[in-house]
């Protein structure tokens, strides 16, 4: 009996109290904890590159707010982007940018610990990029007190935009010095943007500085001198395909172009079909007989014809490797009564704008409704999401990946257009025409246009700069606006700065000139928010209030 008792007693204690450090995996737990506190430079780099390019590409295409405001893209189905409704609500993009900046900040810290100066310099360049996005779109934002939660600054004050611009430019210089001073190598695989080529990073840094200087050219006292100094440095140019953009892999939703099957379901996806080229853009390209038309747009499915002989006649279009079938539909504009009642209504409402055309856009400033687009009426026949009278986007934009589709921050054609403007404004010397034509050439090449077609295009009289300052500026701005297609954030900022090309009438809808602060700033950071709002003109957190840059 005693033995039984003893063994039971021992058994109980054994199960109960004998958990050793091995059972508790203490060594393992500690090792895991330590391991997740660091990350290697190449991964920090690939992460920052992908995060920021995808962020910019979302602004440029995925989110239709800025493409609509830049009159590049309209929606033909619900939503108020066509009439700037989405600018009414506070925008959380500031928070999205901060989420990325948090990563950038810890990356800078880790790379600093390792003495990876080149990486620190690259990361700081992205830091400036994100902060410049924040201030360009909102006005005063936090910068000098930002990212210091660990140091106890939970409610950072905003910096004045005028101070911010100076500080960002200085930080860019500091970044440039770090890039060149570092002696560690950059992983060619993980550097998704420039394949490990350090000199390209310097060029990107300088080009970004030029972009910021141009943005603030009307406000910075020494802008012209700074632009001249920066223009003399190496910029994104010449080298074949070195843009600040990355290619899509096309295998997962994150690494695919948003229009493809991994995100919007490809060319038949609802979101794809709902978005249409804007009439402003389609017409502008038509004016220039622009070869990018067939790259970007698909032919209208059932275009209007005023030639009764063509009624019901189908034709094929093969562009860029994609095949499209279209069928003409007759409309008698001279005698409306000759048409069916539905078409008569469309004529009476003044909806039929483009006839006898292969490509047509959705008119800017119209409510997002497929019935508004160029007299589309036959919804029962299947034009419910779609619109048979307005061009869809070309099938290119329904791919998960394609050599022509990039997640873009900045292209070298933009640099050329900035230089062309700088010459015209008298900030730098040289030939505006040369820069202008280079810019056009780079953009056309980027979209796969052949050299022969480029030569033809440039030979057109309409391309020639008129030779007077205002006329030159308008031509340069127009080509820049076309070149910034799918980089809508910059297209919008430039349109806001220059009002060129003169397209922002938009059916009497007032053009919004900034994002409203996120609601969380009002709720949790009110003193800073109030101070930020106070510097706007008028001093209200409205999409129409002018920030320092525009005052």
């Amino acid at each position: 009996m005693k033995n039984i008792l003893k063994s039971i007693f021992a058994l109980t204690l054994l199960v109960g109290v004998s958990c050793s450090d091995d059972d508790l995996r203490k060594h393992d737990v500690l090792a895991q904890k330590n391991a997740i506190e660091n990350q290697a430079d190449p991964i920090l780099l690939s992460t920052i590159i992908t995060n920021s390019t995808l962020f910019y590409q979302n602004l440029g295409w995925g989110d239709s707010r800025l493409p609509s405001a830049a009159q590049v893209m309209m929606k033909n189905y619900q939503g108020g982007d066509n009439i700037y409704s989405s600018f009414k609500a506070p925008s959380d993009d500031l928070n999205n940018a901060m989420n990325m900046l948090k990563y950038v900040q810890v990356a800078i810290d880790r790379a600093n610990e390792r003495g990876s100066n080149t990486h620190v310099g690259i990361f700081k360049t992205f830091k400036v990029l994100m902060f410049s996005f924040m201030t360009d779109f909102y006005g005063d934002v936090y910068y000098s007190q930002a990212l210091q939660g660990r140091e106890g600054i939970l409610y950072p004050q905003y910096d004045k935009q005028s101070d911010l611009y100076v500080a960002l430019l200085a930080e860019l210089d500091e970044a440039a010095t770090l890039i060149s001073s570092g002696n560690e190598s950059i992983s060619p695989t993980y550097d998704l943007m420039f394949g490990g080529d350090k000199s390209q990073w310097t060029k990107f840094n300088n080009s970004l500085k030029l972009r910021l200087l141009v943005h603030a050219s009307a406000k910075l006292p020494n802008a012209a001198a700074q632009i001249a100094a920066t223009a003399a440095k190496p910029l994104l140019s010449e080298d074949a395909d070195m843009n600040a953009s990355i290619a899509y892999e096309g295998t997962t939703s994150r690494n695919s172009w948003v229009g493809g099957s991994n995100n919007w379901g490809g060319t038949t996806g609802n979101e794809f079909v709902r978005r249409r080229p804007c009439k402003t853009l389609v017409d502008m390209l038509a004016t220039y007989s622009d070869p990018r038309t067939s790259v970007w747009f698909a032919p209208i499915e059932k275009p209007w014809t005023t030639n009764i002989a063509l009624d019901g006649v189908s034709f094929q279009t093969n562009s860029n490797g994609y095949n499209y079938t279209s069928t003409w539909e007759y409309v008698d504009l001279a005698v409306p009564a000759n048409n069916s009642p539905e078409i008569q209504t469309q004529i009476a409402n003044g909806n039929i704008l483009d006839v006898d055309k292969k490509y047509a856009g959705y008119e800017a400033g119209m409510l997002g409704d497929f019935k508004n687009g160029n007299g589309h009426y036959n919804t029962a026949d299947g034009g419910a999401y779609g619109n048979f009278k307005v061009s869809p986007w070309s099938n290119l934009f329904g791919q998960n990946s394609n050599a022509l589709l990039k997640a873009q921050i900045m292209n070298k054609d933009e640099v050329q257009f900035m230089l062309a403007e700088a010459v015209t404004q008298g900030w730098i010397g040289g030939s505006a025409d040369t820069y202008y034509r280079k810019g056009i050439t780079y953009s056309l090449k980027r979209w796969g246009v052949s050299d022969a077609d480029i030569t033809t295009y440039l030979a057109q009289p309409i391309i020639t700069l008129p030779g007077n300052k205002a006329g030159d500026l308008e031509k340069i701005a127009t080509q820049k606006w076309i070149g910034l297609f799918s980089v809508a954030s910059e297209a919008y900022l430039e349109l806001r700065r220059t009002n060129l090309p003169d397209i922002i009438g938009n059916n009497n809808n007032q053009f919004p000139i900034r994002f409203r602060y996120p609601a969380s700033e009002l709720g949790q950071n009110k003193p800073a928010y109030d101070a930020g709002v106070a510097t706007l003109l008028p001093a209200e957190d409205s999409q129409y209030a002018k920030m320092w840059l525009l005052q």
Binding site: M1, L5, T12, C19, L192, S261, N349, S520
Partner: protein, 1120 residues
Amino acid sequence: MKKLLLFSLTFLFALSVWAQNRVVSGKVTDLQDGSALPGVNVVLKGTANGSVTDSDGNYSLSIPSSGGTLVFSFIGFKTQEVDAGEKTILNAQMTTEARGLDEVVVTALGIERSKKSLAYSISDVKSEDLVKGGAINAMKSLDGKISGVNLTSLSSDPTSSVLVNIRGNSLLPTLGGAANSQPLYVINGVPMYNSTASGNSIAAQNGVDFGNILSQLNPEDIESITVLKGGSAGALYGSAGGNGVIMITTKSGKGGKKGIGVSASVATTADSPYRFIKEQNQYGQGERADSWQYDNTDTYGPKLDGSFTGDFWNTKTQQWENGPQRSANEDRVKAYLQTGTTVTTNVNLDGNYDKGSFRLSVTDMKNTGVMPNTKTTQNSISFNSDYRLTDKIKITANANYVRTYSPNKANVTGSNSILNRLLFNLPTNLQPLSDMKNYWLTGFDGLLMNGAIQRDNGIDQSEPNPWWITNEQLNIFTRNNFFGKIQMDWKLNDNFSLLLRSGLNNLNENYEYRQSFGIQRLSNRPGSGDGAFNANTSNAFNVVSDAIISYNKTVSDFTFAAAAGVNYVYNSANSFYTNASALSTPNWFNTANAFPNKLTAGYDWSVRPQHSFYGTFDVSWKEQLFLGLTGRQDYIGNLSEEKINYFYPSVSASWLVNESFVLPQQFDMVKVRLAYANVGNGLINYRNIDTFGYNIPDWSGSVKTGTVSSTLIDPNIKPMSSVTKEVGLDMWLFRKKIMLDLTYFSKSQINQTGSVPVVPGSGYTSMTTNIGDVTNKGIEIGLTINPVKSNDWNWSVTGSFTHYKATMTSLSDQFLGSGGYYFANYDGKTMVKVAPGEVIGNIYEQNPILRVTSGKYAGMPLLDDDGKFQNSGAADRQQIGNYNPNYILGLNTTLTYKRFSLNMVGSFRVGGKYVSVNQQYMDSNGRSIESLSSGDNNPYWKGGRDASMGGLPWPAVGSSDYQEMNDYNDPNHNDNLNDAGYAKGVWLVPGSDASNDANYVVNGADPKNTFYDFTYNAFGDVIWNFAGLRSYDATNFKMREISLNYNLPTALATKMKLTNVNLSFIARNVFQWNKSGRNEDPETAFTNVAGTGGGAGAQGVLRATLPSIRSLGFKLSLSF
């Protein structure tokens, strides 16, 4: 099973051939009133030879010719031993147990204490009350039976999880609410920590509720459930007991008659849904009554009287047809659901001997759901035994194995549920569900869906066929749970005794999700595959060991009891998942078939130790004054850098007034009690460092990308503590004809720890800090009345009353920032406000309607330039209501007549509000009755779908004095169709002075100066954004159980060689009354199954849940 029965029968025969010498018989009566006592156990002492009195109190028993002692025992009466001598007639008179005060209850750590000495409120429910209603879930059968406890079922499905809130929820709304304030469950003295890999007591995957781990406990195996409500009662469990403790004691063979006993029961119920939400069946797909529109599922389209023709895909003939479209005229949910069945079979064998006892129980439950193609089976084996090694040493062992298997269970909450689709997305112009049963296109089984709603380009469906979801989206679940303990009680001497106990719980859950091809368009499959396959496995293992030494001593008028113990807990858990979000070839559900780049996998593990010391000290004086002290010290954390310890004290006192003073005879007992406890929630020391993670999947085959975890930890964070104070009164009157217990409590949860959003500019999205304090005050009352007690009749009524109100008392400045309050998202259209003085459970609208603030039109909605209501922003948010009831009344009554007994349980929840997301979707999708027409007195809009529904004529083009109105009305203008309506409000002429009343235009006052819209916009838009317009009173009464029980006369049973035969008719959820008049069950108002994410278990928001389910059935119990 057969073998077991055979084995049992053999025993039965062995017993019946016992040596017999004489028959002794007699009558057993109640000493007080002389009434006969049926059902009294009569046993020859030291043997298994026994009998039971019949309805007249008579018994007879064969015993040896001389000597022997008869033992008479009966619940509620003192056990009596009578020397049989040579007698053949032996009558006995039994007395009620001395006022029932010697009743022993199990308290924390399994320490047994006399009920009279307790200074805190506990509730216990005995086995007979648990099994009466025939519920398959022990937790469900508690409802309506105890005060201070709010039980809510996640769904009306009989196998669903139950959330238990003891004395309300004192957590701040940002901390997850009800789901995170579940009590600690203790089975046979061993805590069952919520150590599943999912970190929650509710296993939920893909919105499917597979039932609580505790919901698997079979009521037949439970001896009693004791609820320790306050902090003092549960203080010995430390932080784990902060939300109260539910102690479950399973049945043992102990106390039965000597020898082997066998009993069996079978219960079967039919579960049928009722109370379906009413929807309109008159209008079909489209936005206006004159044209079809097939691109979405809104039903604001043409009238389905056959006058409108259209193209439609005939799912039966599988071709496009053109013709008049008619209404399917069916309630989709009603047409979809079926009658479910539940069959529970239990056999148990118990043995009782001088040296010990055992009980073996085997249960089989099979449930076929009310949702087609859903099933659950559950098998459990439970073994309990105790053995006395010596007079002083007793060994107890308990082992349980439960296996639950569901070949498929459906998602019943949220937007992915089939109910959601049936209610909101399946327009009534589509065919009846019975015509859609062939859900594959002929010749393309497993490949192409015969969709309910077709797009124009042929076979691509935009809304999955409901039968495809039913049969091709399967949630397969298996749970294996083994738990048990071994315990030794050693009475060292008269004063000291030692208890050693070690329990373990091993839980293994396996989940598979299989989705066939059919969702992706054919053209997309080469690029992205189709179908899906997920497999998750999680394992959790914990061991809890205690060693307790206790000391008892009586010195003159004082009785001392003290105990000291040490506790060690070891938890380890791991989980593994693979997720193929698309497959390459159809019908092969295997990770190897994953579509390229669509396979992700993960593995996670954790280990958690905890050491504790605890002690209790109780002293009583003259059996009338009692004082109890407890203390516990917890040492938590694994690594030395994490380690931290906390001390939790409690003190309680009670006074039996009736022992100190001579009270009038009517008072059986009067007890006053006071208790205080401070328990906490352990918080280990965290590292305050950024940590990195990785994006899954990688950017490409050769490039990885990372993430950073940006949570900040407040360096000054303090552990949460929960301070409970309670004062109570227990009173028994008129020889226990009236028993009342009353408790007032206050529970303050101080320094609640949570993650709070911080200004993104800080570089962090959230910070873990002490958010604030909540104080919860409440009253609970239990009242039992036995108004009738006679020979044949016995009637008792038990009522419980529960009321509590939790208020945020103080909040961290860091959390509130400068604004003084904070709104947290709730369900998308509603919010919760976090501010001092705010009551827990309050829900606010997210979007308030912008109204005119001053002048003649003050209070009227201010319309925008489209004639629409506008959102006025956060500052104007109004409270919609509080989802908690003001009080809960539980009613439980038993009426016994001879061998019949009728038992009824009902619960009445008074007050509270809920937001119906059903109404939101039905309105916006044009399914609600309200969407047909504004009716006469609608305060928000006027109009209707067409002239027959009160639609207004459109004004002539360009007729308005204002360009904005013409701009808006003219594109929609339609001479042929009276389908205009308008929002009720005023419009300020743009650019004019808002302070001048003359600048306002009242919409609708002048038909030409009115912003019109068709119902789809005029009504649908209003209701969509403004949640305040669809909140309803949650007051309801539920008849939870009605059971009628008949006990076969002993004589008759004996003839059948049985000792007891019992037949019950069972009805559960027989009816429900809602004050709102709506066919929704406010109790099931949860946004999702408590799982992950911020809205976990958010209460008060009801969406697409099952209708009420009524269960009718019978139960037969036999014992040998």
